[in-house]
């Protein structure tokens, strides 16, 4: 995303949150400028997320959010909690920084998984039930995130 687009997006966010009151811009203007600059630094040359793939991602995201919340609630509410916590590793194929952040955050919202650490391409995922292999689910999520940033993944997943 170029600087002008980022300014526009963050300007829009601030207006939605704080309204049109001119005095709010005492805080808003520096915040918008700073956010636009930091986004550029952190996202580097990440592609601009596409509107249409984002809309396609939305139903999946809402469904998984619901499943994730319901799943953890079911586990907690049982008299004897049904958990077997543990870690699994997964090798990310995404290379763009912004895509990676979205992927890591979404992993934490999927049922039973939490992104816990990252060393370059390899992420550590904490699972409430580590007896199941979550690689296929993570690969599926990764494909969907890649579509948003118009990124091509190498065909083979897995560690």
């Amino acid at each position: 995303m170029d600087f002008a687009t980022r300014l526009l997006v963050f300007f829009g966010c601030w207006t939605i949150l704080a309204g049109w009151d001119p005095s709010s811009w005492v805080i808003g203007l520096p915040a918008v400028l700073f956010a636009s600059w930091v986004y550029g630094r952190l996202a580097q040359d990440s592609a601009r997320p596409g509107i249409r793939p984002m809309l396609a991602f939305l139903p999946f995201f809402l469904r998984e959010s619901f499943r994730g919340g319901a799943d953890v609630a079911r586990r907690i509410l049982r008299p004897r909690m049904r958990i077997a916590p543990g870690f699994q590793t997964y090798r990310m194929r995404l290379s763009q920084p912004a895509a990676r952040v979205l992927f890591l955050d979404c992993v934490s919202l999927l049922p039973g998984s939490l992104s816990a650490d990252r060393h370059q391409d390899v992420i550590q995922v904490h699972l409430l039930d580590a007896s199941l292999d979550v690689t296929p689910e993570l690969a599926d999520l990764e494909r969907r995130v890649a579509a948003i940033f118009d990124e091509r993944l190498e065909p083979d997943a897995h560690v």
């Binding site: 966010c13 939605i16 949150l17 809402l62 959010s65 619901f66 994730g68 919340g69 319901a70 799943d71 953890v72 609630a73 907690i76 509410l77 909690m81 958990i83 916590p85 952040v101 890591l104 955050d105 979404c106 934490s108 919202l109 049922p111 039973g112 939490l114 992104s115 816990a116 650490d117 990252r118 550590q124 904490h126 409430l128």
Partner: protein, 100 residues
């Protein structure tokens, strides 16, 4: 406001509050830091989402609806990123002393 919409809204908000309660219960019941982060991120996401969904029929205009949805997105982003950072610090053991 039709009765059906009011009813749906109330059910959604109550369900959202329920998930917040379950998340807190999870914080108490679950055995370790990582499992607790699971409970917090996921139930907060769903709980706040349902509360906001329940509030949407009551907004005066589209602007306020956008504001509510944006608040949900920002909380999601902050929650998921925050829990990742907490987990990372705990795993690498370079934070504060975590043993009870």
């Amino acid at each position: 406001m039709s009765l059906v919409l009011t009813l749906l809204s109330v059910v959604s908000i109550l369900l959202g509050a329920f998930f917040f309660l379950v998340g807190t219960l999870g914080l108490i019941r679950l055995p370790d830091l990582f499992s607790r982060l699971h409970a917090l991120t996921k139930t907060d996401n769903l709980g706040l989402g349902l509360v906001i969904l329940g509030l949407l029929p009551w907004v005066p205009d589209l602007f306020h609806a956008l504001k509510l949805v944006l608040i949900w997105l920002l909380v999601l982003l902050a929650g998921a990123t925050g829990s990742h950072l907490i987990a990372k610090r705990a795993l690498r053991g370079d934070g504060e002393d975590l043993t009870p």
